[in-house]
Amino acid sequence: MTETVTTTWFDTLIHVLIIVAQSLGLLVGLLIIVAYVLLADRKIWAAVQLRRGPNVVGPFGLFQSFADLIKFVLKEPVVPDGSNKGLFLLAPFVTCLLALAAWAVIPISDGWMVADINVGVLYIFAISSLGIYGVIMAGWASNSKYPFLSALRAAAQMVSYEVSIGFVIVTVLMCAGSLNLSAIVEAQNGPLGMFQWYWLPLFPMFVIFFISALAETNRPPFDLGEAESELVAGFMVEYGSTPYMMFMLGEYVAIMTMCALTAILFMGGWLPPFPIAPFTWVPGIVWFLLKVLLVFFMFAMVKAMVPRYRYDQLMRLGWKVFLPISLVMVVVVASVLHFTGLAPGAGG
């Protein structure tokens, strides 16, 4: 009796250790990629403006992000006297933690994920909707005018665009017939390769999802929460050193999550563009990373080229343009699936 108990404890321990190791591996990989994505963002932005961008630290500025990291960590964190100190320091942790938590369910290749849960899409949707709290808490706890205005703006913006993201996800779910991210990718697998991925049949939803993802992550041209010409630096005005770095980290990890979600929902995740010989030799994680980076490149180009929206235009776009279009598309997709008999069975 005692022996069985000890083995179960041992098994549990091994199980937990494996999960911890997987999570650590994923996090290290993710953070290194985020460091270079940050650099790529600045380089692309610079290239569009005919500048060189960061090019001093390391060859071609390749170590710039690490230099920034060391700089932020070594600086003294300043907590304003009038702030609500507990919440002030909790806010960057919440932002960072939630952004990283979303990666637990993202399949980076066939069967390569930390947690294969049935409601993967809903989990990511829930986690990304919690991301607002970091911003609101930071804005309120700073006890200062600009951060508070910024928090109100950012919160209203993120709630608005979540609605249309929700409807876009619903159309994809109806086509795939599952809430599991791996099952959604598998549902896009077919002889036509990349023309069978959902970006083509659901093209309007793909566009809406991309633009809503920009708004959801507070990226330019929708970065009203931190519009420097109006609100200095928005909810991050009072932050410096490590807490500021955690906000930036959380923001870029959230952007990578949205890129990964776009790749999974619309671009076939780890699937090769054509299911024939030279493409299928490449491992799935390479295709997944290429797709994520392609989406990120589009994010960066939009940031570089499109001027910032006015706040009322932003709200109008979310509520009066995207919401009706996505609502109608849900009905249209459901009808097409139902009447053509293409709807997947309610098995998974």
């Binding site: 809903l122 989990y123 829930a126 909707s129 919690l130 609101i136 309120w140 709630v159 998974g348």
Partner: protein
């Protein structure tokens, strides 16, 4: 004690503690944040009993949307904390009395509660081969479709009611029309004039 039991006590303990802090904390914004913590822990409890779909919906709807609006309103209110504390002892007996009556009623109702004949058997065992999103869908859109529609109608009426109550068209306000703005052309906006030198317009 298995891992699940450990997590149960963790979630349940934090949920109860944060529910207490909702009414105990001095700052209303802290109260709302503790309420959110309670919601998240309730979602954790849902996951432990295998209702992961309900758990995610709880987080998306209550934490992601409802509580955000709640926090919004509480942050914007100009609450005078000192005034809020005044009269606390004065109202305490009434509050305790209401609480006791409520407790007594609950004890009376649930103390003599027994399941009717055949009720316990009527709850179908959850089929294990389908996910619980599919299970809910199968019941919700077949047996309970009218209740579902009625709930949707109530929400729609409430939404329209809220809009009607708050929508005011103030006179003398310059409103922007996006179609008009978008329809502006270069000819409408610009007037190219050749200015003779030394004359002015």
């Amino acid at each position: 004690m298995s891992l699940a039991a450990l997590f149960f006590y963790l979630f349940a303990g934090v949920a109860v503690a944060s529910a207490f802090m909702v009414i105990a904390s001095r700052n209303p914004v802290h109260s709302v944040l503790f309420l959110i913590l309670a919601f998240v822990n309730a979602a954790g409890l849902f996951i432990l009993i295998g209702a992961e779909y309900l758990a995610m919906l709880l987080v998306v709807v209550y934490v992601g949307a409802v509580a955000v609006l709640f926090l919004f309103v509480v942050m914007m209110l100009d609450v005078d904390f000192v005034e809020l504390r005044q009269g606390f002892l004065q109202y305490l007996p009434v509050g305790v009395l209401i609480g006791l009556v409520f407790l007594a009623e609950l004890v009376l109702v649930f103390g003599s509660w027994t399941f009717g004949q055949g009720v316990t058997g009527a709850v179908a065992a959850a089929p294990s081969d389908v996910t619980n999103a599919v299970q809910i869908g199968r019941v919700l859109y077949t047996d309970y479709v009218y209740f579902f529609q009625a709930a949707a109608m109530i929400l729609l009426v409430a939404m329209i009611g809220a809009i009607v109550l708050t929508l005011r068209h103030k006179p003398n306000v310059k409103r922007q029309s996006i179609p008009v703005q978008n329809a502006r052309t270069k000819q409408m906006a610009m007037d190219v004039v050749k200015v003779p030198s030394g004359k002015g317009l």
